[in-house]
Symmetry: C2
């Protein structure tokens, strides 16, 4: 079979990261943006197969998080926002990265990143002056050419645009979707008739002028976030409507200062640490999304508490969602649960001079915010790695073990040959399946090669119409995971599919 | 009933446009972006109800246009693209608007717009010098203050961003999604295994620094496009796979130079005008989308041919999709079908020095492009107007007649009272419906007021649980369009809904 496959290189010498990237480019998951122009650093495009998986991911996120209560909605504010909004949010002042320039090559690096690589120190929160003196003290040099480094400077990471005929209106592409929600809070509070808790979500683009974009989809300059901001009465944050459903659910948590993750129930977690039940409830719902819905392995997942030094000062409680990625050799942040208090609304209230106070339950107050943040591209990359299977004795080709709800197609449909009415029989079966499922119809190459093609993009089931189909209206049904094949009547296909795909 | 409604002003004095905008803001269809900061000209946000309708619209577009052939896929390239891509596309040189400044107030206007308003002339394609002399010849003055106008200048309408630590990489937010497809053509052609026709679609944002954004969602600086680029062998453009299905289908067309639209079948249209069948096929599919799927009224719809002067020089054939909008007093472009030939691919080929030629069917050539372009926000606004019904004798409140597939929810569910187990019975019925439909659960206010609330956002069906429900497991089913009510067994709800909603 192997000799039938073209375009694949000898993959044994490649690292896991290289194998994933090769597959991503070859099969259309993702690839560099504007490739014919040599690419654009920090930008990737989703191809035809990637978009199908990304849409599934986004829709599963919507379905899970927006159904947590009847008062949660998606909104779609503009990506471009005025300068004042970022004065209020603090981004104009604080959304800066320490950057240092190699005097030999003129290339910029993140000062904190190269310092911690060389010294092993965590230098988060240090001033440019402090970083500069660490650089000279430890003689930190350019990681590429060994050249001398200049002074550490800070650069704002937002991308500016100038609007109007003379370009005199300064605005920015949002660096996070969250701010788009906060500036809409008051209007939506009225539209949703003044109830708390109220959830507002955005699934959309955010933009950052990263100094050193890297690790493919992990650190991009343009990326997709899915964030749910839940506005709450701070006095009722220690109760959650769905608490009974989660109190016995076990979270996998790494506490700040600890080495290993531990497992404890929501009830234990809340009482031991004095963490409000509503926050714990959202942590449970977050873990359930990644483990139960996306099907990521629990032993590579953890909710990591950030220390006071690591987290933003306005986050009273902050746990990152992390997964272990072998291709990067470390746990990587793919989301977070943040208790942001009234920091954001109060900031916008004071700069806009529109009070963000509401009258609720007989009291006047500025609502607090619990934020669920998901980096869609980072989750996408994680899924590609965690569902990836290399060539093995069992299968002579790479394959993706996407669960059916994430797979780009649930079914591949093949005619055994391209004549004698077999394609028509296959097309008829495909039509039937299309009413319920996404179907990939593939007519060319040997059946083995077609199986490989479907496995590489993670299609869980395939059916083949052959000469027997013309006689008894059955097709061969093949299971991606097991390789098992069975004969199924076309009239039973949907029923059989429901059994196997589990919905 | 009317006295129960709050927040609505005396709507009899308002224009249609004002009524729509008031409803849009009050119920969360759309409203100005960054309102608490006084808004940002040319930017609007979709609210909680608007997003539900917009997602339905986008998904219907996907479903209709991507299923036209098995080789059509959505991709998601970056919104930001490098300068060279726009050198190739011609946007750096040609994507300019003639602009003129009022010397008294300093405000900029589109020179061509204010000239045609005053003189009635169509000045499309005239040079800045020609426009300046028309202004002095006709003594055109500032439309706001009557002040004297300056010289006509041209301004590039793209929004620039500068990437990297020193901002020395110049890039642009794409002014149309199309270019994102063209730079991906070669890679996707390989991924899709070298077949033509090949369709690539983007549903995403585009950005233009409009000099005078106006008419709410119609002319924005940030907007959503849905575009399908179909790459074809120019030699087979006079045949279309689905031709037999459309040849008898009647198009409503306004030919260039004519006053009135006429109706002719695809077959007549193609043979009379010598227009290639594949192009006509896409026109038919476009009209079907707006009329049969979205349900817009045919008598307010037309496909308008652009004259040679009006259309871009590279469009060999160009029909705009237009709808008549009473609130604007004119037919408005909401989409288009464009035969762009090999203009785009050849441009990118020559600037990138990566030949865009393919080997297909034994020949080497640069594929031609037929573009289907849809302005999602413009369609959204059109739908709001065309499905809007003012207060009348029949209904004492405004209502939206969205078809079920566009409505934000298919069902509203009400408990008659908030006690005696009625809410539980209603919730149970709601749960059942949620497996299939989007459901809005509404517990507060009189039933009449709740009906009004549902009608305003266009929910087609509602059910009420009452004391009888506890006895015989039936609910009242109310039809938005007719106001008719009937009793239906909860066990029959889905069946009944399928009948009424037509799917």
């Amino acid at each position: 079979m192997a000799e039938n496959r073209q375009g694949s290189t000898d993959s044994t010498k490649e690292t896991l990261g290289e194998k994933l990237y090769e597959l991503a480019k070859r099969r259309g998951f993702f690839y560099p943006s504007n490739e014919i122009y040599g690419g654009l650093a920090g930008f990737y495009d989703y191809g035809s197969i990637g978009v199908l998986v990304k849409r599934n991911l986004e829709n599963l996120w919507r379905k899970h998080f927006l159904r947590l209560n009847d008062n949660s909605f998606e909104i779609e504010p503009s990506d471009i926002m005025p300068e004042l909004a970022f004065v209020a949010s603090g981004h104009i002042k604080n959304f800066i990265d320490p950057s240092v320039r190699c005097r030999k090559e003129g290339v910029y690096y993140r000062a904190d990143h190269i310092i911690s690589e060389v010294t092993g120190q965590n230098v988060e929160g240090k001033s440019p002056e402090e970083l500069s003196s660490i650089i000279s003290e430890y003689n930190v040099r350019c990681p590429k050419c060994g050249g001398e480094l200049g002074e550490v400077k800070v650069l704002n990471m937002m991308l500016q645009v100038r609007l109007g005929a003379e370009g005199d209106t300064v605005a920015y592409l949002r660096p996070e979707t969250a701010q788009g929600v906060y500036v809409n809070f008051l209007r939506q509070f009225n539209i949703q008739r003044g109830k708390l808790p109220m959830g507002l979500a955005i699934i959309g683009k955010a933009f950052r002028n990263e100094i050193s974009p890297r690790q493919l989809l992990i650190r991009q300059r343009e990326f997709t976030q899915a964030e749910l901001q839940t506005f709450v009465d701070p006095n009722s944050i220690d109760s959650a409507e769905g608490w009974a459903d989660v109190e016995g659910y076990s979270l996998r948590v790494l506490f700040s200062g600890n080495r290993d993750a531990e497992t404890l129930t929501c009830a234990e977690f809340s009482s031991k640490r004095g963490i409000p039940k509503l926050y714990v409830y959202y942590m449970a719902k977050t873990q359930q999304f990644f483990i139960d819905i996306l099907g990521l392995p629990l032993d590579k997942f953890r909710l990591r508490e950030l220390s006071k030094e690591e987290r933003a000062f306005y986050n009273l409680i902050h746990f990152d969602v992390e997964v272990y990625l072998e291709s990067l050799g470390e746990y990587k942040e793919i989301g977070g649960v943040h208790y942001r208090t009234d920091h954001d609304l109060s900031g916008h209230g004071s700069v806009s001079k529109k009070s963000q106070e509401v009258l609720f339950d007989g009291k006047r107050f500025v609502p607090h915010v619990i934020e669920l943040s998901t980096g869609i591209d980072r989750v996408f990359y994680s899924m590609m790695e965690l569902f990836y299977n290399p060539k093995s004795e069992k299968k002579e080709w790479e394959w993706m073990a996407f669960p059916p709800n994430l797979a780009p197609f649930q079914f591949a449909v093949y005619p055994l040959v391209s004549k004698d009415g077999i394609p028509e029989a296959a097309a008829k079966a495909a039509e039937k399946l299309k009413a319920r499922y996404k179907v990939f119809y593939d007519q060319s190459g040997s059946i083995g090669r077609r199986y490989a093609r479907a496995d590489e993009i993670g299609i869980p089931l395939s059916i083949t119409a052959d000469y027997q189909t013309l006689e008894d209206r059955t097709v061969t049904l093949r299971n991606r995971n097991t390789g098992e094949q069975s004969r199924v009547a076309i009239s039973n296909l949907i029923e059989e599919a429901e059994k196997l795909l589990g919905n």
